[in-house]
Protein backbone atom coordinates (compact mmCIF):
# COMPACT_ATOMS: atom_id res chain seq x y z
CA UNK A 1 0.00 0.00 0.00
CA UNK A 2 1.33 3.40 -0.95
CA UNK A 3 1.53 5.99 1.74
CA UNK A 4 -0.89 8.82 1.13
CA UNK A 5 0.73 12.21 1.18
CA UNK A 6 -0.62 15.00 3.31
CA UNK A 7 -2.06 16.89 0.33
CA UNK A 8 -4.02 13.90 -0.94
CA UNK A 9 -5.33 13.10 2.51
CA UNK A 10 -6.74 16.62 2.74
CA UNK A 11 -7.75 16.96 -0.90
CA UNK A 12 -9.50 13.58 -1.29
CA UNK A 13 -12.30 14.22 1.22
CA UNK A 14 -12.82 17.74 -0.14
CA UNK A 15 -13.28 16.34 -3.64
CA UNK A 16 -15.67 13.66 -2.33
CA UNK A 17 -17.61 16.41 -0.50
CA UNK A 18 -18.11 18.34 -3.74
CA UNK A 19 -19.07 15.22 -5.69
CA UNK A 20 -21.73 14.15 -3.16
CA UNK A 21 -23.28 17.58 -2.69
CA UNK A 22 -22.92 18.34 -6.41
CA UNK A 23 -24.91 15.21 -7.29
CA UNK A 24 -27.55 16.13 -4.68
CA UNK A 25 -27.91 19.66 -6.06
CA UNK A 26 -28.01 18.28 -9.61
CA UNK A 27 -30.70 15.70 -8.73
CA UNK A 28 -32.90 18.46 -7.32
CA UNK A 29 -32.51 20.54 -10.48
CA UNK A 30 -33.14 17.61 -12.85
CA UNK A 31 -36.09 16.04 -11.01
CA UNK A 32 -37.48 19.45 -9.93
CA UNK A 33 -37.91 18.38 -6.31
CA UNK A 34 -39.71 21.15 -4.39
CA UNK A 35 -37.74 22.89 -1.62
CA UNK A 36 -40.20 22.02 1.12
CA UNK A 37 -39.64 18.29 0.48
CA UNK A 38 -35.91 18.20 -0.10
CA UNK A 39 -33.89 21.42 -0.25
CA UNK A 40 -30.54 21.46 -2.02
CA UNK A 41 -27.27 21.66 -0.08
CA UNK A 42 -26.60 25.22 -1.27
CA UNK A 43 -29.92 26.38 0.20
CA UNK A 44 -29.18 24.52 3.44
CA UNK A 45 -25.68 25.99 3.80
CA UNK A 46 -27.13 29.38 3.01
CA UNK A 47 -29.69 28.97 5.81
CA UNK A 48 -26.95 27.81 8.21
CA UNK A 49 -24.95 30.96 7.60
CA UNK A 50 -27.70 33.56 7.26
CA UNK A 51 -29.77 32.33 10.20
CA UNK A 52 -26.77 31.40 12.35
CA UNK A 53 -27.68 33.90 15.06
CA UNK A 54 -31.14 32.29 15.39
CA UNK A 55 -29.67 28.80 15.60
CA UNK A 56 -26.84 29.68 17.98
CA UNK A 57 -28.71 29.46 21.34
CA UNK A 58 -29.85 25.93 20.47
CA UNK A 59 -26.43 24.93 19.15
CA UNK A 60 -24.92 26.20 22.37
CA UNK A 61 -27.34 24.21 24.53
CA UNK A 62 -26.68 20.98 22.62
CA UNK A 63 -22.93 21.54 22.64
CA UNK A 64 -22.94 22.08 26.39
CA UNK A 65 -24.98 18.94 26.95
CA UNK A 66 -22.72 16.82 24.74
CA UNK A 67 -19.37 18.19 25.93
CA UNK A 68 -20.16 18.25 29.65
CA UNK A 69 -21.66 14.76 29.41
CA UNK A 70 -18.58 13.57 27.54
CA UNK A 71 -16.19 15.11 30.05
CA UNK A 72 -17.92 13.25 32.89
CA UNK A 73 -18.44 9.99 31.00
CA UNK A 74 -14.80 9.44 29.99
CA UNK A 75 -13.18 9.47 33.45
CA UNK A 76 -16.10 7.55 34.96
CA UNK A 77 -15.66 4.86 32.30
CA UNK A 78 -11.87 4.67 32.68
CA UNK A 79 -11.82 4.63 36.49
CA UNK A 80 -14.54 2.01 36.61
CA UNK A 81 -12.60 -0.10 34.09
CA UNK A 82 -9.50 0.20 36.26
CA UNK A 83 -11.42 -0.97 39.32
CA UNK A 84 -13.19 -3.78 37.48
CA UNK A 85 -10.04 -5.24 35.93
CA UNK A 86 -8.24 -5.21 39.27
CA UNK A 87 -10.95 -6.98 41.23
CA UNK A 88 -12.35 -10.07 39.56
CA UNK A 89 -15.40 -10.44 41.80
CA UNK A 90 -16.42 -6.88 41.13
CA UNK A 91 -15.99 -7.46 37.41
CA UNK A 92 -18.26 -10.48 37.56
CA UNK A 93 -20.83 -8.46 39.50
CA UNK A 94 -20.84 -5.39 37.25
CA UNK A 95 -20.20 -6.74 33.74
CA UNK A 96 -23.78 -7.71 32.90
CA UNK A 97 -25.04 -4.28 33.95
CA UNK A 98 -22.44 -2.45 31.88
CA UNK A 99 -23.54 -4.48 28.84
CA UNK A 100 -27.15 -3.75 29.80
CA UNK A 101 -26.40 0.00 29.70
CA UNK A 102 -24.59 -0.26 26.35
CA UNK A 103 -27.30 -2.23 24.58
CA UNK A 104 -30.36 -0.51 26.04
CA UNK A 105 -31.35 2.45 23.87
CA UNK A 106 -31.32 5.43 26.14
CA UNK A 107 -34.44 6.82 24.61
CA UNK A 108 -36.40 4.17 26.53
CA UNK A 109 -35.26 5.68 29.84
CA UNK A 110 -35.59 9.35 29.02
CA UNK A 111 -39.32 9.88 29.64
CA UNK A 112 -38.94 8.38 33.11
CA UNK A 113 -35.79 10.39 33.82
CA UNK A 114 -37.70 13.54 32.94
CA UNK A 115 -40.67 12.45 35.01
CA UNK A 116 -38.34 12.04 38.00
CA UNK A 117 -36.02 15.00 37.47
CA UNK A 118 -37.67 17.55 35.23
CA UNK A 119 -36.63 19.09 31.92
CA UNK A 120 -33.46 20.98 32.85
CA UNK A 121 -30.09 20.62 31.17
CA UNK A 122 -28.91 18.53 34.15
CA UNK A 123 -31.27 15.72 33.19
CA UNK A 124 -30.05 15.78 29.62
CA UNK A 125 -26.40 15.75 30.73
CA UNK A 126 -27.17 12.87 33.07
CA UNK A 127 -28.77 10.96 30.23
CA UNK A 128 -25.73 11.57 28.03
CA UNK A 129 -23.41 10.28 30.78
CA UNK A 130 -25.49 7.15 31.36
CA UNK A 131 -25.55 6.33 27.67
CA UNK A 132 -21.92 7.05 26.85
CA UNK A 133 -19.74 6.06 29.84
CA UNK A 134 -20.35 2.35 29.37
CA UNK A 135 -18.73 2.25 25.93
CA UNK A 136 -15.55 3.87 27.29
CA UNK A 137 -15.69 1.40 30.14
CA UNK A 138 -15.96 -1.60 27.82
CA UNK A 139 -13.08 -0.52 25.60
CA UNK A 140 -10.80 0.54 28.45
CA UNK A 141 -11.49 -2.71 30.32
CA UNK A 142 -10.60 -4.70 27.19
CA UNK A 143 -7.34 -2.77 26.95
CA UNK A 144 -6.52 -3.15 30.64
CA UNK A 145 -7.20 -6.88 30.55
CA UNK A 146 -5.18 -7.65 27.42
CA UNK A 147 -1.73 -6.44 28.38
CA UNK A 148 1.04 -8.66 26.99
CA UNK A 149 1.97 -11.23 29.62
CA UNK A 150 5.69 -10.61 29.11
CA UNK A 151 5.26 -6.95 30.08
CA UNK A 152 3.44 -7.95 33.25
CA UNK A 153 6.28 -10.36 34.00
CA UNK A 154 8.77 -7.54 33.52
CA UNK A 155 7.01 -5.59 36.28
CA UNK A 156 6.85 -8.73 38.44
CA UNK A 157 10.59 -9.25 37.94
CA UNK A 158 11.18 -5.97 39.78
CA UNK A 159 8.34 -6.59 42.25
CA UNK A 160 6.39 -3.54 41.14
CA UNK A 161 3.22 -2.79 43.09
CA UNK A 162 -0.22 -2.47 41.54
CA UNK A 163 -0.05 1.28 41.05
CA UNK A 164 3.41 1.15 39.47
CA UNK A 165 2.34 -1.64 37.13
CA UNK A 166 -0.84 0.20 36.21
CA UNK A 167 0.74 3.56 35.48
CA UNK A 168 3.86 2.30 33.69
CA UNK A 169 2.55 -0.71 31.79
CA UNK A 170 -1.20 -1.32 31.90
CA UNK A 171 -2.43 2.18 31.10
CA UNK A 172 0.02 2.92 28.26
CA UNK A 173 -0.63 -0.55 26.78
CA UNK A 174 -4.35 0.10 26.85
CA UNK A 175 -4.27 3.68 25.51
CA UNK A 176 -5.19 2.76 21.91
CA UNK A 177 -8.29 0.96 23.25
CA UNK A 178 -9.07 3.83 25.61
CA UNK A 179 -9.00 6.26 22.70
CA UNK A 180 -11.24 4.02 20.60
CA UNK A 181 -13.62 4.07 23.55
CA UNK A 182 -13.41 7.87 23.75
CA UNK A 183 -14.19 8.27 20.04
CA UNK A 184 -17.20 5.99 20.40
CA UNK A 185 -18.14 7.89 23.54
CA UNK A 186 -18.27 11.12 21.53
CA UNK A 187 -20.62 9.47 19.04
CA UNK A 188 -22.79 7.98 21.79
CA UNK A 189 -22.91 11.34 23.59
CA UNK A 190 -24.09 13.18 20.47
CA UNK A 191 -26.73 10.54 19.72
CA UNK A 192 -27.88 10.55 23.34
CA UNK A 193 -28.16 14.33 23.48
CA UNK A 194 -30.29 14.57 20.34
CA UNK A 195 -32.48 11.65 21.49
CA UNK A 196 -33.18 13.37 24.78
CA UNK A 197 -33.97 16.64 23.06
CA UNK A 198 -36.41 14.82 20.77
CA UNK A 199 -38.33 13.51 23.73
CA UNK A 200 -38.81 16.61 25.77
CA UNK A 201 -38.11 20.28 26.21
CA UNK A 202 -37.87 23.06 23.68
CA UNK A 203 -34.16 23.71 23.80
CA UNK A 204 -31.35 22.21 21.79
CA UNK A 205 -30.90 21.15 18.18
CA UNK A 206 -32.96 17.96 18.66
CA UNK A 207 -36.06 19.87 19.69
CA UNK A 208 -35.51 22.29 16.79
CA UNK A 209 -35.33 19.46 14.24
CA UNK A 210 -38.75 18.26 15.47
CA UNK A 211 -40.20 21.75 15.46
CA UNK A 212 -38.96 22.74 11.98
CA UNK A 213 -40.09 19.42 10.51
CA UNK A 214 -43.57 19.95 11.96
CA UNK A 215 -43.74 23.40 10.29
CA UNK A 216 -42.32 21.94 7.06
CA UNK A 217 -39.33 24.28 7.40
CA UNK A 218 -37.24 21.53 5.83
CA UNK A 219 -34.24 23.76 5.15
CA UNK A 220 -34.00 24.72 8.81
CA UNK A 221 -34.42 21.11 9.92
CA UNK A 222 -31.57 20.10 7.63
CA UNK A 223 -29.47 23.01 8.89
CA UNK A 224 -29.92 21.70 12.44
CA UNK A 225 -28.93 18.18 11.35
CA UNK A 226 -25.77 19.55 9.76
CA UNK A 227 -24.96 21.48 12.93
CA UNK A 228 -25.27 18.23 14.91
CA UNK A 229 -22.88 16.61 12.45
CA UNK A 230 -20.42 19.47 12.88
CA UNK A 231 -20.51 19.12 16.69
CA UNK A 232 -19.92 15.37 16.36
CA UNK A 233 -16.99 15.91 14.00
CA UNK A 234 -15.42 18.55 16.26
CA UNK A 235 -15.58 16.19 19.23
CA UNK A 236 -14.13 13.32 17.19
CA UNK A 237 -11.29 15.50 15.93
CA UNK A 238 -10.48 16.78 19.41
CA UNK A 239 -10.14 13.20 20.65
CA UNK A 240 -7.96 12.32 17.63
CA UNK A 241 -5.72 15.32 18.28
CA UNK A 242 -5.37 14.36 21.93
CA UNK A 243 -4.52 10.81 20.85
CA UNK A 244 -1.81 12.04 18.52
CA UNK A 245 -0.39 14.29 21.23
CA UNK A 246 -0.24 11.49 23.80
CA UNK A 247 0.65 8.38 21.78
CA UNK A 248 3.92 9.48 20.24
CA UNK A 249 5.56 6.06 20.14
CA UNK A 250 5.21 3.32 17.56
CA UNK A 251 4.43 -0.20 18.69
Amino acid sequence: MKRTTKTTSILAPVVTFFIIFGLWELAILIFKIPRWILPGPIAIFNTMIVKFADFWPNIWVSMQTIFIGFIFAVPIGIVLAGIITNFKTLAAALDPFIIFLVVTPLITLVPLLMYFLGFGIEVRILAVIIQSFAIVNMNAATGFANVELLRMELMQSVRANRLQTFSRVVLPSALPDVFTGMKLCGIFATTACISVEYVGGNKGLGSQIIRHTQYIATEKAFACIFFVAVIGIILYMLVSLLEKAIIRWKI
Binding site: E153, M155, Q156, V158, R168, I247, R248, W249, K250
Partner: protein
Amino acid sequence: MRIPWEVHFLQEPKIRFTNVTKIFKTHRQIITAVEKANLEIHEGDFVSLIGPSGCGKSTIIRMLNDITKPTSGEIYVDGEMIPQKKKISSKQIRKMGFIFQQPNLLPWMTVRQNVSLPLKVFGLKDEKWEKNVDKLLEMVGLKEYEDAYPSEISSGMIQKIGVIRAMVHDPEILLMDEPFGALDEMTREQLDIELLDIWSRTKKTIVFITHNVEEAILMASKVYVMGTNPGRIVAEVEIDLERPRRLDMITETKFIEYEKKLTSLIGEIDLSKIK
Protein backbone atom coordinates in the same frame (compact mmCIF):
# COMPACT_ATOMS: atom_id res chain seq x y z
CA MET B 1 40.81 -18.00 39.10
CA ARG B 2 38.44 -20.81 39.96
CA ILE B 3 37.60 -21.14 43.59
CA PRO B 4 38.60 -24.62 44.83
CA TRP B 5 35.69 -26.86 45.70
CA GLU B 6 36.70 -27.15 49.35
CA VAL B 7 35.82 -23.50 49.72
CA HIS B 8 32.51 -24.11 47.98
CA PHE B 9 31.85 -26.91 50.40
CA LEU B 10 32.22 -24.57 53.33
CA GLN B 11 30.39 -21.66 51.81
CA GLU B 12 26.64 -21.36 51.47
CA PRO B 13 26.00 -21.24 47.71
CA LYS B 14 24.65 -18.03 46.19
CA ILE B 15 21.64 -19.88 44.84
CA ARG B 16 20.31 -23.20 46.06
CA PHE B 17 17.29 -25.23 44.90
CA THR B 18 16.24 -28.18 47.02
CA ASN B 19 13.69 -30.55 45.50
CA VAL B 20 11.91 -27.76 43.67
CA THR B 21 8.83 -28.92 41.79
CA LYS B 22 6.50 -26.82 39.69
CA ILE B 23 3.22 -28.18 38.44
CA PHE B 24 0.98 -26.21 36.11
CA LYS B 25 -2.67 -27.13 36.17
CA THR B 26 -4.87 -26.19 33.27
CA HIS B 27 -8.42 -27.44 33.05
CA ARG B 28 -7.32 -29.98 30.43
CA GLN B 29 -4.15 -31.39 31.88
CA ILE B 30 -1.53 -31.30 34.58
CA ILE B 31 1.98 -30.46 33.43
CA THR B 32 5.01 -31.07 35.57
CA ALA B 33 7.23 -28.27 34.34
CA VAL B 34 10.01 -28.95 36.83
CA GLU B 35 10.37 -32.07 38.94
CA LYS B 36 12.58 -32.16 42.04
CA ALA B 37 15.26 -29.84 40.75
CA ASN B 38 18.40 -29.49 42.84
CA LEU B 39 20.83 -26.74 42.00
CA GLU B 40 23.85 -25.18 43.64
CA ILE B 41 25.25 -22.08 42.09
CA HIS B 42 28.13 -20.28 43.73
CA GLU B 43 28.98 -16.63 43.89
CA GLY B 44 30.57 -15.41 40.67
CA ASP B 45 29.69 -18.57 38.74
CA PHE B 46 28.57 -18.53 35.14
CA VAL B 47 26.10 -21.39 34.83
CA SER B 48 24.16 -22.49 31.77
CA LEU B 49 20.86 -24.36 31.71
CA ILE B 50 20.36 -26.21 28.48
CA GLY B 51 17.59 -28.41 27.15
CA PRO B 52 14.84 -28.72 24.58
CA SER B 53 11.82 -26.45 24.78
CA GLY B 54 9.39 -27.52 27.47
CA CYS B 55 12.09 -28.80 29.83
CA GLY B 56 11.29 -26.14 32.40
CA LYS B 57 14.49 -24.14 32.10
CA SER B 58 12.63 -20.83 31.93
CA THR B 59 10.44 -21.90 34.84
CA ILE B 60 13.56 -22.41 36.98
CA ILE B 61 14.70 -18.81 36.71
CA ARG B 62 11.15 -17.48 36.81
CA MET B 63 10.73 -19.17 40.19
CA LEU B 64 14.04 -17.76 41.34
CA ASN B 65 12.87 -14.29 40.36
CA ASP B 66 9.47 -14.85 42.04
CA ILE B 67 7.58 -14.35 38.79
CA THR B 68 6.00 -17.69 39.60
CA LYS B 69 5.95 -19.72 42.83
CA PRO B 70 7.16 -23.33 43.06
CA THR B 71 4.55 -25.96 43.92
CA SER B 72 6.93 -27.51 46.44
CA GLY B 73 10.58 -27.35 47.46
CA GLU B 74 12.73 -24.52 48.64
CA ILE B 75 14.78 -21.85 46.90
CA TYR B 76 17.52 -20.03 48.76
CA VAL B 77 19.42 -16.93 47.80
CA ASP B 78 22.44 -16.30 50.03
CA GLY B 79 21.04 -18.84 52.45
CA GLU B 80 17.78 -16.97 52.81
CA MET B 81 14.66 -18.76 51.61
CA ILE B 82 12.37 -17.08 49.11
CA PRO B 83 8.97 -16.96 50.86
CA GLN B 84 6.63 -19.70 49.67
CA LYS B 85 3.39 -17.78 50.09
CA LYS B 86 4.29 -14.13 50.45
CA LYS B 87 5.94 -11.88 47.91
CA ILE B 88 9.72 -11.97 47.76
CA SER B 89 11.40 -9.33 49.96
CA SER B 90 12.66 -6.18 48.29
CA LYS B 91 16.13 -6.97 49.61
CA GLN B 92 16.11 -10.28 47.74
CA ILE B 93 14.52 -8.99 44.55
CA ARG B 94 17.14 -6.27 44.29
CA LYS B 95 19.86 -8.90 44.24
CA MET B 96 18.53 -10.12 40.88
CA GLY B 97 18.22 -8.78 37.38
CA PHE B 98 16.07 -10.63 34.85
CA ILE B 99 16.79 -10.55 31.14
CA PHE B 100 13.95 -11.72 28.95
CA GLN B 101 13.96 -13.81 25.81
CA GLN B 102 12.39 -11.01 23.83
CA PRO B 103 14.00 -7.72 24.83
CA ASN B 104 10.67 -6.66 26.29
CA LEU B 105 11.33 -2.93 26.18
CA LEU B 106 8.33 -0.71 26.76
CA PRO B 107 7.62 1.13 23.49
CA TRP B 108 6.23 4.23 25.25
CA MET B 109 9.49 4.87 27.06
CA THR B 110 12.74 6.18 25.62
CA VAL B 111 15.91 4.10 25.84
CA ARG B 112 16.96 5.91 28.99
CA GLN B 113 13.54 5.59 30.63
CA ASN B 114 13.54 1.87 29.83
CA VAL B 115 16.96 1.38 31.39
CA SER B 116 15.92 3.37 34.47
CA LEU B 117 12.69 1.41 35.03
CA PRO B 118 14.03 -0.80 37.86
CA LEU B 119 15.43 2.29 39.62
CA LYS B 120 12.01 3.95 39.45
CA VAL B 121 10.24 0.89 40.81
CA PHE B 122 12.80 0.36 43.59
CA GLY B 123 12.69 4.06 44.43
CA LEU B 124 16.43 4.57 43.88
CA LYS B 125 16.66 8.30 43.23
CA ASP B 126 20.25 8.99 44.16
CA GLU B 127 22.58 10.84 41.78
CA LYS B 128 24.81 7.78 41.90
CA TRP B 129 22.14 5.66 40.18
CA GLU B 130 21.69 8.19 37.39
CA LYS B 131 25.43 7.99 36.84
CA ASN B 132 25.13 4.22 36.70
CA VAL B 133 22.60 4.60 33.85
CA ASP B 134 25.12 6.79 32.01
CA LYS B 135 27.91 4.32 32.68
CA LEU B 136 25.94 1.35 31.38
CA LEU B 137 24.74 3.21 28.28
CA GLU B 138 28.33 4.15 27.55
CA MET B 139 29.50 0.61 28.18
CA VAL B 140 27.28 -0.76 25.41
CA GLY B 141 27.97 2.28 23.23
CA LEU B 142 24.39 3.56 23.16
CA LYS B 143 24.67 6.81 25.12
CA GLU B 144 23.82 8.87 22.04
CA TYR B 145 20.55 6.91 21.62
CA GLU B 146 19.27 7.56 25.15
CA ASP B 147 16.36 9.72 23.96
CA ALA B 148 15.35 7.42 21.10
CA TYR B 149 12.29 5.19 21.30
CA PRO B 150 12.81 1.42 20.93
CA SER B 151 11.11 1.48 17.51
CA GLU B 152 13.89 3.74 16.26
CA ILE B 153 16.89 1.50 17.03
CA SER B 154 18.11 -1.88 15.72
CA SER B 155 17.26 -5.23 17.27
CA GLY B 156 20.86 -5.77 18.45
CA MET B 157 20.76 -2.42 20.26
CA ILE B 158 17.37 -3.26 21.77
CA GLN B 159 18.78 -6.51 23.12
CA LYS B 160 21.69 -4.68 24.73
CA ILE B 161 19.26 -2.27 26.38
CA GLY B 162 17.37 -5.27 27.75
CA VAL B 163 20.60 -6.52 29.29
CA ILE B 164 21.71 -3.27 30.88
CA ARG B 165 18.21 -2.60 32.21
CA ALA B 166 18.61 -5.74 34.30
CA MET B 167 21.96 -4.44 35.56
CA VAL B 168 20.98 -0.88 36.39
CA HIS B 169 20.27 -1.50 40.08
CA ASP B 170 23.60 -3.33 40.36
CA PRO B 171 22.22 -6.79 41.12
CA GLU B 172 24.53 -9.59 42.23
CA ILE B 173 22.75 -12.19 40.10
CA LEU B 174 21.78 -11.98 36.42
CA LEU B 175 19.07 -14.34 35.20
CA MET B 176 19.10 -14.62 31.43
CA ASP B 177 16.32 -16.40 29.55
CA GLU B 178 17.79 -17.15 26.11
CA PRO B 179 18.64 -13.48 25.86
CA PHE B 180 20.12 -13.53 22.37
CA GLY B 181 18.09 -16.41 20.95
CA ALA B 182 16.08 -14.24 18.59
CA LEU B 183 19.13 -12.60 17.01
CA ASP B 184 21.17 -13.65 13.99
CA GLU B 185 24.24 -15.80 14.58
CA MET B 186 26.81 -13.04 14.15
CA THR B 187 25.13 -10.56 16.45
CA ARG B 188 24.56 -13.29 18.99
CA GLU B 189 28.22 -14.34 19.06
CA GLN B 190 29.31 -10.75 19.40
CA LEU B 191 26.92 -10.15 22.30
CA ASP B 192 28.03 -13.44 23.93
CA ILE B 193 31.63 -12.20 23.97
CA GLU B 194 30.53 -8.79 25.29
CA LEU B 195 28.59 -10.51 28.04
CA LEU B 196 31.61 -12.61 29.03
CA ASP B 197 33.59 -9.40 29.16
CA ILE B 198 31.02 -7.76 31.44
CA TRP B 199 30.97 -10.87 33.63
CA SER B 200 34.75 -10.99 34.02
CA ARG B 201 34.79 -7.34 35.05
CA THR B 202 31.80 -7.33 37.40
CA LYS B 203 31.98 -10.89 38.81
CA LYS B 204 28.24 -11.24 38.91
CA THR B 205 26.63 -14.64 39.27
CA ILE B 206 24.99 -15.49 35.97
CA VAL B 207 22.37 -18.10 35.19
CA PHE B 208 22.20 -18.33 31.43
CA ILE B 209 19.49 -20.27 29.63
CA THR B 210 20.00 -21.43 26.07
CA HIS B 211 19.06 -24.22 23.71
CA ASN B 212 22.32 -23.80 21.80
CA VAL B 213 24.97 -26.34 22.92
CA GLU B 214 27.86 -24.34 21.52
CA GLU B 215 26.75 -21.18 23.30
CA ALA B 216 26.34 -23.04 26.59
CA ILE B 217 29.89 -24.42 26.45
CA LEU B 218 31.40 -21.18 25.27
CA MET B 219 29.90 -19.17 28.13
CA ALA B 220 29.58 -21.34 31.20
CA SER B 221 31.74 -22.93 33.85
CA LYS B 222 29.00 -25.44 34.57
CA VAL B 223 26.18 -26.67 32.34
CA TYR B 224 22.98 -28.18 33.68
CA VAL B 225 21.33 -30.41 31.08
CA MET B 226 17.57 -30.60 31.39
CA GLY B 227 15.07 -33.06 29.99
CA THR B 228 11.35 -32.91 29.24
CA ASN B 229 8.26 -34.70 30.37
CA PRO B 230 8.56 -34.16 33.25
CA GLY B 231 10.98 -31.25 33.14
CA ARG B 232 14.00 -32.18 35.22
CA ILE B 233 17.74 -31.81 35.55
CA VAL B 234 19.40 -34.89 34.04
CA ALA B 235 23.09 -34.04 34.15
CA GLU B 236 25.59 -31.54 35.44
CA VAL B 237 28.73 -30.98 33.35
CA GLU B 238 31.70 -28.87 34.49
CA ILE B 239 33.28 -27.01 31.59
CA ASP B 240 36.99 -26.77 32.15
CA LEU B 241 38.13 -24.41 29.42
CA GLU B 242 40.51 -21.54 29.96
CA ARG B 243 39.29 -17.98 30.47
CA PRO B 244 38.88 -15.60 28.82
CA ARG B 245 36.92 -17.62 26.32
CA ARG B 246 37.33 -16.82 22.64
CA LEU B 247 35.14 -17.63 19.65
CA ASP B 248 37.93 -19.63 18.00
CA MET B 249 37.89 -22.14 20.88
CA ILE B 250 34.92 -23.73 19.15
CA THR B 251 37.35 -25.68 16.95
CA GLU B 252 39.48 -27.00 19.84
CA THR B 253 39.37 -30.75 20.52
CA LYS B 254 38.34 -30.27 24.13
CA PHE B 255 35.45 -28.03 23.08
CA ILE B 256 34.25 -30.55 20.52
CA GLU B 257 34.36 -33.31 23.13
CA TYR B 258 32.13 -31.27 25.44
CA GLU B 259 29.85 -30.63 22.52
CA LYS B 260 29.58 -34.39 21.76
CA LYS B 261 28.95 -35.17 25.40
CA LEU B 262 26.20 -32.60 25.81
CA THR B 263 24.59 -33.43 22.48
CA SER B 264 24.45 -37.11 23.42
CA LEU B 265 22.95 -36.24 26.83
CA ILE B 266 20.28 -34.16 25.16
CA GLY B 267 19.79 -36.88 22.54
CA GLU B 268 19.07 -39.49 25.23
CA ILE B 269 16.39 -37.24 26.60
CA ASP B 270 14.73 -36.96 23.23
CA LEU B 271 14.66 -40.76 22.84
CA SER B 272 13.21 -41.28 26.29
CA LYS B 273 10.53 -38.77 25.46
CA ILE B 274 9.23 -40.88 22.59
CA LYS B 275 8.86 -44.17 24.56
